[in-house]
Each structure stands twice: as C-alpha cells, then as structure tokens.
C-alpha cells in the first residue's frame, strides 16, 4: 500500500471512530466531549507553543472569556444581563427553543471572534516578551482576567452564571454537545493541516527557530505572531462557548479561568504527544485524558500525585513526546531525510563541493 492511501485510511478511520464513538459508548458521552475539548485546547496551544516557540500559559483566559461571552450574548438577546445574574436562583427566566439555539449559535461565534480580538490586544502588549517571560506574562493575564470577572457583579461575580438547560432529551443533549466539540476539533485539525503547509506556517516556524534572523530577513514577525495567537484564541473561545452550554452553570475561578487545571493540562497534552507536530497534540490529549480518567477513578486521593508524576516524567525523560520519539526513531515515516554519516562530516562537505565545482566547470 502506498503512503497516500495509508494516510487516507488513517484519516477515514479516525473520522469513522469520531462519528461512531458516542453511539458505541453512550455512557461516556460527556467524557468523549471533554476529550475533544482537550484536543482543541492542545492543538491551539501547540500553534504558538510548538510551531511558533511562544509558550503561553494564558490560553485558558480565552476559554473563560469565551464562556462568558457566549453566556452574556445568549442571555442579553432575551433579558437584561444584570437583572438575570442578580436574581441568581430566584426569578423565572424562560428561554424558548428558538431563543436557546439562536443564542447558542450567535454566542459561540461571538465568543470566538471576541477572543480573537482579545488575543490581538493582549498579544500586542505581551509579544515583546520572550521565553519564560512570555509564559509568566500570559499566566498573569489569565489570573488577572479570572479575578476581574469574579469581581464583576454584572456577569454574576464570584457566583458565575447559570445558563438554561438543554431543551429536550438530556441524553440527546449530550450527543449534541459531543458533536459540537468534535466538529470544532475536526475543523481545527483540517484548518491546521492546511495552515502548516502554507508560507504562513513556514513563517511561524522561522520565528520559532530564530526570531532575530527572521527579523533580519524582513519577516513581519509581530504580525505573524498576532495572527497565530488570534486564530488559536478563536478556536479556544468557541470551545469555551460550547462548554458554557454543556456545563449549564459555571463560575469564574474554578471553571472558566481554571489556570491550574485545563490551563496546565493543555500544555501537558502537547508535551506528552510531541511539540510542533500536527498529530502530537491529538495523541497527547487522548493519552492524557485516558490517564487522567483512570487515575481519577482508581487512584482517588492520589490522582494529583499521579498527574504530577506524569508531568515530571514527561518533562525530564520524554521531552520530545510520542511523535518526537517516533520522528527520531522512524524519520522515514515522516518524510524526513537523515544524512548517512559513514564517510564523516568533513569528507562529505568536500565531496559535495568538489562535485559542484566539477559541474560548474
């Protein structure tokens, strides 16, 4: 079988598994939806962290902002947001099916767009920072965003927001949310597969490898960085918006701006799967989610210790992740060519140059 049909087979079987999963494992629909959420946040984290060399610890901010924007838009289309959040627990606020689904559609898209705009603004300020300073700077942004929102009464303050429950059968609702996440994840994957093959992809790789060189060659480095982050933020925002409807009730610090949970998980997923590769974040998210659920179920009480151990082992012994390991071991699978070092490096240089000057003469 040639390479092309092997790839096609792989892609089609993944697609088939995606569609069949909620029907094969109906008890795990919420888990599977969360898995897609992990894949989305891991893929978007890798856009800046893996492909562009900017390790952001603040991407979770877009998840939280996305949640709030989707909720506020949905509520705001029908009621006064301040009154709605103020009457927490009391008062009767009903949404018709039409209002619910219009709110969801508009809210989720608005969440993505608003997050992309936020990324442009925050990026303009923070992209002057390099290396660990960028990581800490963005982490600060995420923490500050959570604190600001939790003190903002109009959006419910520390109590958060409760959205209407999915109208209709709740099991159907679970499947709907699964497919919303899956569709977003698939769209993101296809988008990135295309993006990384364009000159844009090459440009952000250049920024990762040597930003100073990229500047010296006249690349619009800031523009590339801002666009990349905005695209990542769009998808995280959309995922946050869907989460808002899936979770029904969310509050700022533990759910929306959960810096120490999802904010770190997305980084671990990417490191585990392999930074700077298209499939790495996907593989990492699947492995990580599986590991997390197994330890949460069978090692309860020790789950955080197990998770910490996983992070330490990954960072210390397995930095390239699964895909990085495979690339190193089986470069031919990825179309990477490696020099045969039998003749010794210096000799090969001369040989190549000799051949070339012979041709020139």
């Amino acid at each position: 079988m040639n390479n092309l049909s092997k790839h096609a087979l792989l892609h089609w079987s993944c697609l088939l598994a995606t569609v069949a999963a909620p029907f094969l494992f109906p008890d795990f629909n919420t888990q599977l939806a969360t898995l897609w959420l992990m894949i989305i946040v891991a893929l978007t984290w890798d856009m800046t962290g893996g492909q562009m060399g900017y390790n952001s610890l603040g991407n979770i901010a877009f998840y939280g902002i996305g949640m709030y924007v989707a909720a506020v838009v949905t509520i705001g289309m029908v009621y006064d947001v301040g009154e709605y959040t103020n009457a927490f627990g009391g008062g009767v606020y009903k949404f018709t099916d039409a209002q619910y689904f219009t709110g969801m559609a508009v809210g989720v898209v608005a969440a993505g767009v608003f997050c992309a705009l936020c990324a442009l603004v925050i990026g303009y300020i923070t992209f002057g920072l390099r290396g660990p300073y960028f990581a800490i700077g963005t982490l600060g942004v995420a923490i500050a965003a959570g604190e600001l929102v939790s003190n903002w009464d109009w959006v419910g303050g520390g109590q958060g927001i409760a959205l209407p429950v999915y109208p209709g059968d709740l099991d159907t609702g679970k499947i709907v949310f699964y497919f919303l996440f899956a569709a977003t994840g698939l769209a993101l994957f296809v988008f990135l597969k295309w993006l990384y093959q364009t000159r844009f992809g090459a440009a952000i790789n250049a920024v990762r490898d040597d930003e100073e060189k990229a500047e010296a060659m006249g690349l619009h480095t800031l523009r590339y960085k801002l666009f990349t982050w905005a695209m990542a933020a769009f998808f995280v925002g959309v995922a946050g918006g869907i989460s808002a409807f899936q979770l029904i009730h969310f509050e700022p610090l533990e759910t929306a701006f959960q810096t120490i949970n999802l904010g770190i998980f997305m980084v671990v997923c990417v490191l585990l799967g392999g930074k700077g590769t298209l499939w790495g974040p996907v593989v990492g998210a699947v492995l990580f989610h599986f590991f997390k659920e197994v330890t949460w179920t069978y090692l309860l009480g020790w789950q955080w210790v197990a998770l910490g151990a996983l992070i330490v082992v990954t960072v210390v012994y397995f930095q390239d992740g699964v895909m990085g390991y495979l690339m190193h071991r089986k470069p031919e699978w990825f179309g990477i060519r490696v020099e045969q070092r039998a003749a010794g490096n210096a000799d090969t240089v001369t040989a190549v140059d000799g051949a070339n000057s012979a041709r020139a003469e």
Binding site: L195, Q197, T198, R199, F200, A202, A203, N205, A206, R208, D209, D210, E212, K213, A214, E215, A216, M217, G218, L219, H220, T221, R223, Y224, F227, G276, I336, R337, V338, E339, N345, A346, V349, T350, V352, D353, A355, N356, S357
Partner: protein
C-alpha cells in the same frame, strides 16, 4: 552613485565609544571591504546600519533614504540585508524550507502568506542551493549541517531575498580553507551576475584584497584609512594597527 551613505556616525555603549564619527560610502554595484583589528567596531557599525540599535549621532542613508531610525525588519524589506558572524539559519527546517521562507517579504502581502510556494519559487530555491553547492543536502535538517555548510546556506538565503545591498560579517570565518576559493568565486558572481552590492567585514586579507575594489579600515572605533587594496596594503597606519606599532 552611492547605495550606502554613512555620515559622522557615533555609537557609544555606556562609556565605551564603539564608533566615533565614521563616514564612508559604498558605491552601487561594488564590492567594498571593511577591515580592522578585533574590537575596532566593525560589527557595531554593521549593527547600526541595519537598525539593531539606535546611533548617537550622524546619519545613514540607503538609496538616498535616511534609515538610521528605522527598525530592522523595515530596513531588510527595503533591500538591505546582513548575514551574521555566528551563522543564523532556521535549524529545525530543511534547506529548501529555509530558502522558501527567505523570499523577499517586501513583495509579500499578508494574504499571500496563506498560499503555498509556486513552482518558480521552488526552482529558484533549488537553483540557488546548487549555486552554493548544497543541492545534494537540500532536504537535510539544516541544524545538522556543518558550520561551513550553514554559512553557505545563510548566503543562499540572502540571495533568495534579492537584496540590493548585502552586508556580510566575516563570510569566510570558520570555513574549511579548501572551500574559501569557491566562496570567493560565488561572492564575486553574486555581485556580477545578480547585481548585488556587497559590503564585507573580513579578517582574511587574502580574501578581501582579492575581492574588494575599495577598503575601509577601522581601529579603536575610528576611521584609520580608506583606499584601494594596494593603498591599504602599503599604508603604514594599517600595518601598525594590525601588527602593533611602538
């Protein structure tokens, strides 16, 4: 006509005067050399020209336009490039990818970046890689190439960018002596065939005397001498600066 016009440039770092009142011109289409003992301020001058740091006084004009206040990227997009003493390439990408991302960005709009490279661009990349003798290695990860090969790749990337002027910081340093003749030949051809003005910092006297039409010599941040290779070779001040006069 002058492509580069440097007038009274002074640059200090704290109390250290790296460049003091330097004036020089580079003729369009020429090969001009810049020599001087270690620490004489050559690389500082290059950095000032391409916009790495602001200058304290003086003016730098490229093709008649003042560039001393412009940022690095903008100067690069105007067509004035530099290569680095410590070679800089995109290590995780292969040779062809390194070349393709070095296409002139002054012509590229944001929208263009969302397309793939054209067949012509691939051919040009291959052609230039062949020109520097890296064609056989073009699909290797460039970070795995030897220092000399990386230097050649960096040179090819600069050519890919179609600059009007190219500043080369010690192009032959660290290169296997048997390859230097080939490199001199290629630099000369880049100048004559592609019409790129070259401004070269070089310590290897044989190389620079062989190539340059005009040479400037710096010492202790000041202009020491200027002239043709013959004049420079026989200038007592230059000889003293290099050998140490008493």
């Amino acid at each position: 006509m002058h492509i580069l016009d440097i007038n009274g440039v002074t640059k200090t770092f704290g109390g250290v005067v790296a460049n003091h009142d330097i004036s020089m011109t580079v003729e369009r289409g020429s090969i001009t050399g810049l020599i001087g003992p270690n620490g004489s301020g050559k690389t500082t001058l290059f950095n000032s020209i391409v916009g790495y740091h602001p200058i304290d006084a003086g003016s730098i004009r490229f093709q008649g336009k003042e560039i001393s206040k412009l940022p690095v990227q903008q100067i690069a997009r105007m067509g004035l490039l530099r290569t680095f003493q410590q070679t800089r390439i995109y290590g995780a990408m292969n040779g062809v990818e390194n070349m393709l991302i070095s296409l002139p960005h002054r012509k590229m709009r944001m929208w263009d970046s969302f397309s793939r490279n054209s067949r012509e661009e691939y051919e040009r990349a291959d052609h230039l890689l062949e020109f520097v003798g890296l064609y056989e290695k073009r699909f290797l990860r460039s970070g795995d190439l030897s220092f000399g090969q990386q230097k050649l790749l960096e040179f090819a990337m600069a050519l890919m960018n179609e600059p009007a002027g190219l500043l080369l910081d010690e192009p032959t340093a660290g290169i296997n002596p048997t390859l230097i003749n080939g490199l001199i030949d290629r630099l000369k051809r880049a100048n004559s065939e592609f019409g790129i003005t070259l401004f070269i910092i070089e310590h290897n006297m044989r190389v620079i005397m062989n190539m340059a039409e005009k040479i400037y010599c710096l010492a202790h941040g000041e202009m020491l001498a200027a002239g043709t290779p013959d004049e420079i070779q026989n200038d007592q001040l230059v000889i003293d600066a290099y050998l140490g006069a008493h």
